[in-house]
């Protein structure tokens, strides 16, 4: 019985994964940065680093909290659930050590912010990638 449930779960989650959006971290095509490792990306998104590897300032941006793309970005790439992210920022906020990334209401708004400011990094759906942005990860 439990094996059947597990099999069902694995199949369902495989389908969900296949159907889910493909999230990528991007900067403006005008940025000098061309790639990031998962750890460098994590440091920028967790407020541990304010710079890209080449030393230029990095300003991360988030999508709205209920965005499925945001959920995927944090669980798959950063490795933290929504509650873990909340707990993480509560540590930094209550020491005056940092503020969470600014939230953009729409995916289009996030992409626009990226193209307008070469220091801004955000995550978008791979289908939205065009020659105005550079994919840094994966």
């Amino acid at each position: 019985m439990s094996a059947a449930v597990l099999t069902l779960y694995l199949i369902t989650s495989a389908i969900t994964n296949a159907a889910s959006a493909d999230v990528v971290a991007v900067v403006s095509a005008k940025s000098s940065v061309t790639s990031l490792t998962a750890y460098q990306l994590t440091d920028i998104y967790l407020g541990r680093s304010a710079r890209f590897p080449d030393g230029t300032e990095a300003i991360p941006c988030d999508l709205a909290e209920n965005s499925p793309l945001r959920e995927e970005f944090y669980t798959k790439i950063i490795g933290k659930s929504r509650a873990q992210i909340k707990a993480h920022w509560s540590k930094l906020i209550f020491t005056g050590r940092g503020q969470p990334p600014r939230e953009m209401a729409t995916d289009a708004g996030a992409k626009q912010l990226v193209t307008e400011n070469p220091n801004v990094i955000c995550y978008i759906d791979r289908s939205q990638v065009d020659n105005s942005v550079t994919v840094l990860f994966p």
Binding site: T37, A38, Y39, Q40, T42, D43, R48, S49, A50, R51, P53, E57, G79, K80, S81, A83, Q84, K86, A87, H88, S90, K91, L92, I93, F94, T95, G96, R97, Q99, P100, R102, E103, M104, A105, G109
Partner: protein, 437 residues
Amino acid sequence: MKHSDIFSAVRSAVIAAVIICGAAVPFANAADDATKPIFALRGFGTLGIVHSSEKNADFTSGFFEPNGAGYTRSWAPGVDTKLGVQADARFSDKLTAVLQLVSQHQYNNTYEPRVEWANLKYQFTPDFDIRLGRTVTTQFMVSDSRMVGYANLWIRPPREVYGLVPLTNKDGIDANYRFAVGEATNSVHVSYGVANPKLPDSGTVKARNYSSLANTLNYGPITLRASYSWGRVHLNTPGTDALLDGLTQFGNTVSAIPGFAPAGRQALNLANKYRFQNKPLSFLSFGASYDRDEWLLMAEWAGLNGASILADSTAWHATAGYRIGTFTPYLTVARLRSEKRSETGISTAALAAIPPLAATAATLNDGVNRALAGGAPGQKSLVIGVRWDLIKNTALKAQYDYMILDSMSSGRLGNVQPNFQPGGKVNAISFALDFIF
């Protein structure tokens, strides 16, 4: 109305106003425009309750809480309950200020809010800042969020380790510098200042030249941390002050009696040896954690170089949590050891010719050894709990603490009563609702 009452009333009014404003002001950081917030109000809190099986001592939050669960109350809300409100102000891209008020059960048996942090920060570069004012002390892995229950897995950080340095803030200056090391980020933190919090029963602690150095390395999900602190400490509690005054008085009296000078000198020497004034204390700690996906693993080791009645102590804890959806069961094992010391004290044999003096000497000797035992706590704990992230910004926790006290020790228990039996085993159960807003 005394000055202090007026002061506390004003502070209570301020905190109330801050809370009301905080409820009315929407989250500033959620703004979708390019302007950064110039003022933000946020808060954190815990509603907690603790029950302890030991009826002749109290399970408390630490040295600053006068009473807790066990002797004073069957179920004590004061151990973990707290409310913090923080105002962040941004004056420019570089200059910011933080004011944090915290209300929790404290030394004078009230919940009067106190200023936990109040500092100005100047951000020279994105990687280097200096803060002036009241800032956090940085001895431990979760020093920064020691009071923010929501930020932590446990209801409270392991008391074996975190009880070694109960000071949470200092007044002075600190600097923070971070730099990349390959794929890792390293932060160096230095601070210098003073601290003088109040203890129950009109006790005081004064730390001078209180300096700390901390280094934190983040490499993906891994964090490694080392810290070293030192300072000069004055500690006064009514119990030890009475004992030391008694020794001095006895020593002076007996020294004046012909033929009894050696016994008098023994008493005066004891008083000088244990007078807790301007004593050097130092503290070293190492920590490591792994936090990614389902697992949260953490371990810390700490050592305190004591002085006077405060023994040299070492402590460690190892914690593991495993996330299953919104539930995170966790387990901690912790150990606190202190160097056991005793004094033979004043020679009662030398005073045998005058029985009342011999009896007083015996009482004083007993007092010294009790103080030394009190300053050398030892215990081990097994802690099992679960955190449930039930709704946004809110976590509910249940925790069971099983403590084995070292023989001759009351461990981390406070408000110890005369018929308390040292050693033994203590069970405590706690519930807490942690929230941020």
